[in-house]
Amino acid sequence: MYDVLIRRAEYEEFDDVKRLLADNDLTLEDAEYTAIAKLNEDIIGTCSFSGKIIKCFAVREDYKGEGLSLKLVTHIIDEMFERGIYEYFVFTKPENINIFKSMGFKIVHSAYKVCLLEGGKSDINKSIDEMFKKSGLGYEKKSALVMNCNPFTLGHRYIIEKASKESESVVVFIVKEDKSVFPFDIRYSLVKEGVSDLKNVKVISGGDYIISSATFPSYFIKQLDDRIDAYTNLDAHIFGKYIAPVFNIVKRYVGTEPFCKVTEKYNNALLKILPSYNVEVELVERIKNSGNIVSASFVRNLIKKGDFNSIRNFIPDVTFNYLVSEKAKGVIERIENEK
């Protein structure tokens, strides 16, 4: 009935896209591809994606209920498919749930302000089952830690060792999302090697459902606003509802957070929410060395300063050996160039 054109937004159209999003209390951020629905000269709908995440979705009030959403989202999904993305997620307001459900999306978790749905081939229950099977872990009761380890420090080692002593079995999830200076492969292998003497500790990838840009988009964008409460709660609920029961996790260890407000809010969300899924949360005081709290951000600062003598006091040999090796050159350069 209308001559609506669905296509990629061109550079000079982004101001209009932003205006439409603003009318819907949304902002255009970190979008790798933006589509628009155009009728004559008006932009009446928009949708974007970045990686596996469909986002920034809005349709102008007077064109709602005419199937535009379906066309926009289909265009985005087709574009993702072309780029080899077959599993995708969408964060949206609860009032949009039905639009996505009609396209075969399933609710992962719905909270007060934000709802996470998954579509395409992704299936949280299956993924977690596969993650568990691949880990080779048994059904015994476990303690869990979720760490980014950017990079692996003596602080991480201390808390893993504490968990190892106090638990029958420990599983360490390393955040998979590659938005940190140290790439996942490096972060993962340093921890794995660095705790190989602790026989009851297993180090595995955190996958798509633990602090990923799907469960927790703001973890990687360190700005503080009210969305963070929504996201920290979402991640905590997903851990409690889906991951803990499959892995038989009864306790989660968390390090105290003196610097980063986002992580502090995340800790508070875990403390509040996980016990309702029968997962105990223990806050562990961070260790200090010569008056300084041992943290990965502190270590990155020392790298930036080129202070490799002091670094030795904060990181285990495995991380130090990596840092002075040829392989670390690119990473160190990137840290030095950070603002």
Binding site: F81, Y86, S102, M103, G104, K106, G120, K121
Partner: protein, 87 residues
Amino acid sequence: MEIKRIAKCGTFESNDIYVIVEPNSDGGVEINLESIVMKQFGEQIKKTIDETVKSFGIKSIKITAKDRGALDYTIKSRVETAIKRAL
């Protein structure tokens, strides 16, 4: 015949079905179906998909389908086209 790559066919429009086919590393025919009429026609839709797969003599395939109330003819042709694109 063998499924060599991932391919899709269909849309999310009403009365259509969206089908993704891909190789199945575990072997066998695996069908993951979501449908708005799952309770009434879930089994029938799966049967139609399965028969279409068998008519190609395909032994190993993974199918993800999102159904919006498609008729048998539609299901059959969407699955068939997706398979042909994946060969």
